[in-house]
Symmetry: C2
Subunit: 360 residues, 2 copies
């Protein structure tokens, strides 16, 4: 595909150093990647690796430390120039080859044994970088090769968040003794029209999450990512004002046999695109750090991804055991494929609502 102005803007955003420092300083992220690379050192040592979207090159260096014979560190952003300097300063130029370009455009003249990539965006799929991993896989990965992470799961759950609503909306009801309720419609629109990236806790979650999409990095196609639809049915475990839905994800680092490995992945019914899938009946996992899972769930330690919230303009009071059902469609924006259109339909207590928003 051609490199668009949107792609250029995206690559430019990653030329800033601050964003890389923020990602590296996210220890949940970086520690999990390092642990995963060290865990699979027997599959990496002496092998050829490609790091898709290498940034400053830190994951490539971890792979070199794990004994990789050669690492192709690919990034279309100008940060690749820095990665190359870091590689040289660490005398790793014989092992790590920095390629400044898109995976669609650069040339690698051999097959690779391992793909490592930190491609996850807010709400997992925002930024659509997974497409580059798919391209790299289809261009270069040997049959039976390793992809880290190997699979990803996007979750959603209804949430209550009275403090947030109060801070953004109720504030206007009494401002220095003045009734500014006339601001409410605009305040709600400004606060809740677009998805919001913020940190919530397990306390905000009304019930067990629903799997929006289970992605197997070995088999997923770009076409499958264009539109993702799911139907959900929740049952609130408490009585509370229901303010919207939270989205989060986890990725797991497993070999190709992962999908039958019950130690690593929870045993769930795989949700195909338009079918009603079962909600996962667990809020907690025993030892997420040991399972080689990187989780961004509200009940787990916070990461720079936080959670993504889609709020309603007005809360809905739900009773204990009340059913909340509906459907969700995520699709790449036609305007800019790195944006995401989110269409949410839900019914609760006889009220039916459609909310469409764009993550830009």
């Amino acid at each position: 595909p051609p490199c668009t102005d949107f792609d250029m803007a995206y690559f430019n955003a990653y030329a800033d150093v601050g964003i890389h420092a923020e990602m590296i300083k996210d220890r949940v992220r970086t520690d999990t990647y390092r642990n995963a690379i060290m865990h699979y050192r027997s599959l990496i040592a002496g092998k050829v690796v490609v790091d898709v979207g290498c940034g400053t090159g830190i994951l490539s260096i971890f792979c070199a430390q794990a004994g990789a014979k050669r690492v192709y560190a690919v990034d279309a952003s100008d940060i690749a120039v820095q990665a190359n300097e870091v590689v040289k300063a660490n005398k790793l130029s014989d092992t790590i080859i920095v390629l400044h370009g898109r995976v669609e455009d650069v040339e690698i003249d051999e097959e690779v044994d391992v793909i490592v990539s930190e491609w996850m965006g807010y709400m997992l799929l925002y930024e659509s970088m997974l497409g580059s991993v798919i391209t790299a896989r289809d261009r270069w990965l040997k049959p039976g090769g390793l992809i880290l992470p190997s699979n990803a799961t996007l979750f959603m759950a209804p949430v209550t968040h009275p403090d947030r609503y109060s801070h953004s909306v109720d504030f206007w009801r009494n401002v220095y003794g003045i009734d500014m309720s006339a601001m409410l419609p605009l305040a709600k629109q400004c606060a809740f029209e677009e998805p919001s990236v913020e940190t919530i806790t397990g306390e905000n979650v009304l019930t067990w999450p629903h799997v929006v999409k289970l992605i197997d990095c070995y088999t997923i196609s770009n076409q499958e990512l264009e539109t993702i639809s799911t139907k959900f049915k929740f049952q609130s475990i408490m009585r509370a004002p229901f303010h919207g839905f939270a989205f989060w994800f986890e990725v797991a680092f497993s070999g190709p046999e992962i999908l039958t490995d019950s130690d690593v992945l929870p045993s769930i019914s795989c949700s195909s695109n338009t079918q009603l899938s079962d909600t996962i009946q667990r809020k907690k996992r025993p030892h997420p750090s040991e399972a080689l899972i990187l989780s961004t769930a509200p009940e787990d330690p916070p990461t720079h991804w936080q959670q993504t919230l889609i709020y309603f303009y007005d809360p809905i009071d739900v009773e204990q055991d009340q059913v909340i059902e509906g459907s969700l469609t995520l699709s790449q924006s036609k305007e800019n494929p790195r944006f995401m259109n989110i269409r949410l339909e839900y019914v609760s207590g006889g009220r039916s609502v459609v909310k469409e928003s764009i993550m830009r």
Copy 2:
């Protein structure tokens, strides 16, 4: 002057509700304005007021509460539509007339007794909104009328901030045991090229501040604001790494006789544009809140304006009593008059540096 695309972008930014909530929730700001309006109620009761850049209309309502006969609430941003709704809901339509347009364009068919405006931007002059107050004054204010605030002072001082430097720069020296010093030049550029709005404390300040510009709202002209130059000479009161300069401001709410009133303004030698003015020999003021002064100084309670920092790429070690001298020029950007060009020249310990940056 014609309304440019830059002006439109500026007005659009203020159509968002969040920015108004943030400003109103800044109690240092809003309390001081309310106190000042109530303090001058004898000059406001029965009089005609214009509120320049009224936003949600809160200051106009304070003026109505202080007994104003009529308040013209002017704002070019679409937030004026909301202000009008708030005024109607509070049954103040007979007193407050919302005018949705620029002060340059709207018509007021009488002279006004009072101008109230919250026009201050980061580093006082960023956004260049003071020009609109000057326009309103020259178009409508009666001789002897009141302007709130009546005067403003922009300060600068050398600062030390090892934590900030370490967080943004030294971080790269050891990243998970990897020497990423190759990132340092770009890290410094990304972190310190542009002015940074952040909160520091009095502990960061190396010596007493210098007055960059003293603005008398009764007499200042737009032409005087196009370029502001000053020479400074500091003497560090401690030995420390010198990381850059901090800028902050205060505004005072006084009658037209303000500039001879030693209770309200500190007695300082007025800094004319290109002369070396004396540094104010005080870091603390006895009771800032009682003096009808709104201060954004590092030693005072934080506000949403925080302080504006201009960092060097590398710290300079200064000894106690070491002299830091140089000059500063602030000028409206030719590209976009709401941007500000900042040219800083300084000499310390035999090192001479020029730093040019743009606040955009």
